[in-house]
Symmetry: C2
Subunit: 214 residues, 2 copies
Amino acid sequence: MSTVRRGNGGGPARSRTGRRAGDSGTREAILDSARQQFAAHGYDGATIRGIAAAAGVDPALVHHFYGTKERLFASAMRLPVVPSEFIAAALADGEIPAGVTVGEHLVATALELWEGAETIGPFQAMLRSAVSSEQAAAMLREFLTEVILAPVATATRGDPGSAPLRAAMVASQMLGLAMARYVLKFGPVVRASRAELVAAIGPAIERYLTGDIS
Amino acid sequence: MSTVRRGNGGGPARSRTGRRAGDSGTREAILDSARQQFAAHGYDGATIRGIAAAAGVDPALVHHFYGTKERLFASAMRLPVVPSEFIAAALADGEIPAGVTVGEHLVATALELWEGAETIGPFQAMLRSAVSSEQAAAMLREFLTEVILAPVATATRGDPGSAPLRAAMVASQMLGLAMARYVLKFGPVVRASRAELVAAIGPAIERYLTGDIS
């Protein structure tokens, strides 16, 4: 159902009782509570039970509206997609165009997502907040480790022991690209087209995923 | 003379009149003024003349103590080295050990610098401030463009037209590494030894400097 396909919004258009305003108020209370609990306890430490309690609702309602903790996090942070599903979809074999490497496809897909009209604001805000406080950094670190690095690691080849470092190297280059293009706004990185960035960075990502890095 | 070899401190041990305390007070006033002027006007916009005026001293004294604007910036930001000199020295042909690529040497040298006892604090502070405000981002962008990207670009091979993008790609990966290891503290990047990071990232940097990126 559409409730759980997207991080931002979704859910039944109206509850069975037809109380739209009440639903909307409850949703906002849950998202407010989620933002507070994630900030206070980190991504790992926050629980749906605790978020529900702080919002004064039943945990079952939170599950009903948002499904999983990751989906709730994505909604609370106003992400336009559920990251792990987005990455899994982008890395699925059938999704990668012929003649394009996984590394190139990952860069192209990330740029397309980041530069979407509903994404760019929240994405910049998340980058900024992550470096402005230890707490926000911990939250982003835990979130990325759990829901981003894991699916990226499954896309790596070679011995499983190197997968965490490979995924982290991918994350470091993508993070540096995002910082350079959206936050620090380095001239050549801002002026480059997406195709130029894919050509420049794609092979580096592909090597991190599948090449010799030791 | 030793005054201009290092960004942090240096200068004559005492002035000709022997007034050490006065020197020290004047230096602090100049550095305070520099921090304010760089923050207010950016790296490009701030001038030694304006910094001297705000500190109530003669511009010649600022030149005497700090030499160039870059050296003054490095001192004001408490950097332990003058970045352009550090990079130029690291990339000088004679400095690169046999069997080591320029890319590997650049990663190894940067890690060694960043993780020096007197560097790590100011470096983290600079990364954090650069993303916390547009003003600080502009200052860092201008500084990096003028004094970091230019010497890196001279280390690139191939057509000169691609040098700015090559240098910016190097900067994006190094920035991402620094963010991942020191600010967000991704587990695998924190746990990796310097040698492991050099092996993983060095070839990516070498490709940005000299490979086919289009």
